[in-house]
Symmetry: C2
Subunit: 198 residues, 2 copies
């Protein structure tokens, strides 16, 4: 099977498109391979000439998405994280069906988290010397940031993008970046206002 053959490229493109589109109507787990091939107008048996199953097709969609995210043009400098957040949520808004389908499948939520975690962890480690005394390992901070980010994207999608991208970028920067950073430094001791009072 020559992966550069125009027929092959066409088939794979149509199958990916079909799965993404179908997640608008049905949950990922409920979509059958027959649904995908019917919607793509591709022979049922042809599916298995290209992919091992639904998850394998999703994996290709997923990998291409990760590549896109990694190539987002964040320029270093002032307001770095708000800009990063902006590009991230912009990408989500432009690929809603795709993100819904990824976050719909536990399998790929995990993959998404584990993959992104590595990037985040490297990022934090490059700046760890700024923290006087870290109160927990970097790996936990990375896990926390990624879980929260996925949670925030999920909330935004579930609420039909009620907030504009700018607002989400700001929340991302405050809640996820600053929140984690503040908690990480054990020197920041914060007395919660209601502690000892209820």
């Amino acid at each position: 099977m020559n992966p550069d053959d125009r027929r092959v490229l066409r088939t794979r493109r149509l199958l990916k498109k079909a799965l993404i589109e179908l997640t608008d109507d049905k949950e990922y787990e409920e979509i059958t391979i027959r649904d995908i091939t019917d919607h793509a107008d591709i022979g049922y048996a042809t599916f298995f000439r290209h992919y091992d199953g639904k998850d394998d097709l999703m994996l290709e969609i997923f990998t291409e998405t990760i590549d896109e995210i990694e190539s987002l043009p964040v320029s270093h400098g002032d307001r770095y994280f708000e800009q990063e957040g902006y590009l991230l949520f912009e990408h989500v808004s432009e690929n809603q069906a795709l993100y819904r389908s990824i976050l719909d499948s536990q399998n790929f939520t995990r993959k998404f988290r584990d993959h992104t975690k590595k990037m985040v962890q490297l990022h934090i480690e490059g700046h760890i010397e700024h923290v006087a005394s870290p109160s927990f390992p970097v790996e936990i901070a990375a896990q926390h940031m990624v879980s929260s980010l996925i949670g925030l994207i999920d909330w935004w999608l579930a609420n039909d993008l009620v907030f504009p991208i700018e607002r989400m970028a700001m929340i991302y920067e405050r809640l996820i970046i600053q929140g984690t950073w503040h908690a990480m430094d054990a020197e920041n001791s914060l007395k919660l206002p209601w502690e000892g009072t209820d």
Copy 2:
């Protein structure tokens, strides 16, 4: 079908026990109903006399777990959140297979999050007057806390409970409670150490 009949109670108890135990060996999605009935030594057809399917069985396990969590004896007062965290992670360590099975299924991770979110949200709203100027809605703070908590539990389980419960309780209090609280108050302006420098 009388739900108080000893035979009924026995069957349901054995089926729940079997599903929880099986998640130690296999992923939730890969477990078949035949696996469950075989392991429980219950007739296959009997399963459907009690549950609509695997998810329905899991829902009962899930509901009972939530009830247990809600009845954890947190005493109000000083170090409230560390204590809350301690009881939470203690419960996780005592019911590892159960938590693994819940977090293994996207369906129930969602249910877990949505259910817990409501509790957390009410909790925050009771103290919102302490925040001078909230920089985002309470609902987002609740979503954030719950997503992070699930992420933290997931990390702990994936790393075979490397940290003692005390340490997890401390991380919970700092990262999730204090981190969120700090970020929520727009008056807290934190200049990140590397901003504008990379």
